[in-house]
Symmetry: C2
Subunit: 135 residues, 2 copies
DNA sequence: CATATTCCTATTGACCTGGTAGGTTTTTTG
DNA sequence: CAAAAAACCTACCAGGTCAATAGGAATATG
């Protein structure tokens, strides 16, 4: 299993916000209700999206979240990388990659690298707008 | 992280056996030593490969394991699916998939399915023989 | 001030991962 | 025949991750 609920929920929230883009700030309570996801759990997932300015939230009554840009501007890959850490298929690739001393002679490394590239390209080739349109 | 050590170790063992194919039965102790993997841990990974006749082992002194076929016959995908369960990117696909009640309206499901297909095709398109030749 | 919201931190139970431990059975060899 | 070497089997364990829950603090509105 490559993508956990963290990434999947984040994507669903982003899609929900995209669907209601232009309607101002939407309380996460509403999104959680529509998507049937625990609000409390979502609150722990969202900060990484706000810190990186994919969404913006304002506090207080009447507050909520909204996308900072048009749905077409968001690549699925960016959302998943932020919430999942990275999309590396194996431990020796990706962000926290401690160099493997077998790397030079490793017969499988090129394969993993190629798959890593394909994965990133696949998810970077899809935007929220396209998902909304069922493309 | 999609592929755990289980799958990676299995693949390395298969590659090691492929590299020494034609040399008869090779003790796992030797492979574990060459690959620097815990023998005991390997012993827990191998049964699924023997049960599915990818390799065969004979007991007793002078025993060991060998491939049942030529290295070119083995698809990486088969080895990974056996040892990892499946290559599904999300829980709602793959073997133990309990049907999601949101499946019909799910905007992301087609994307996951497409990626699932790409993943299987990618790893099924590579054989042990090709890995040995650094293709 | 009451309310509604984001934001923050700690905790928890279940499961998975990577590995260890301690054998039993089977076969070959000296 | 006895010893050694190998596959095979089952239980256990420490650490981490996942998915969530809990309980608030800060902030803004009306």
């Amino acid at each position: 299993m490559m993508i956990s609920t963290r990434g999947r929920y984040a994507l669903r929230v982003m899609l929900d916000l995209a669907e209601h883009h232009g309607e101002g700030y939407i309380p996460m309570k509403v999104v959680a209700g529509r998507q049937n996801i625990s609000l409390k759990y979502l609150e722990r997932i969202l900060p990484v999206l706000t810190r990186n300015h994919l969404i913006e939230g304002i506090q207080g009554k009447g507050g909520g979240y909204r996308l900072t840009e048009e749905p077409a501007k968001y690549r699925v890959g960016d959302i998943l990388r932020l919430t999942e850490g990275d999309l590396a298929p194996v431990a020796c690739l990706g962000s926290g990659a401690k160099a493997c001393e077998r790397a030079d002679s490793c017969k499988t490394l090129p394969m993993w690298r190629k798959f890593y590239r394909i994965t990133n390209e696949f998810f970077d080739g899809i935007t929220l707008a396209e998902l909304l349109d069922n493309i």
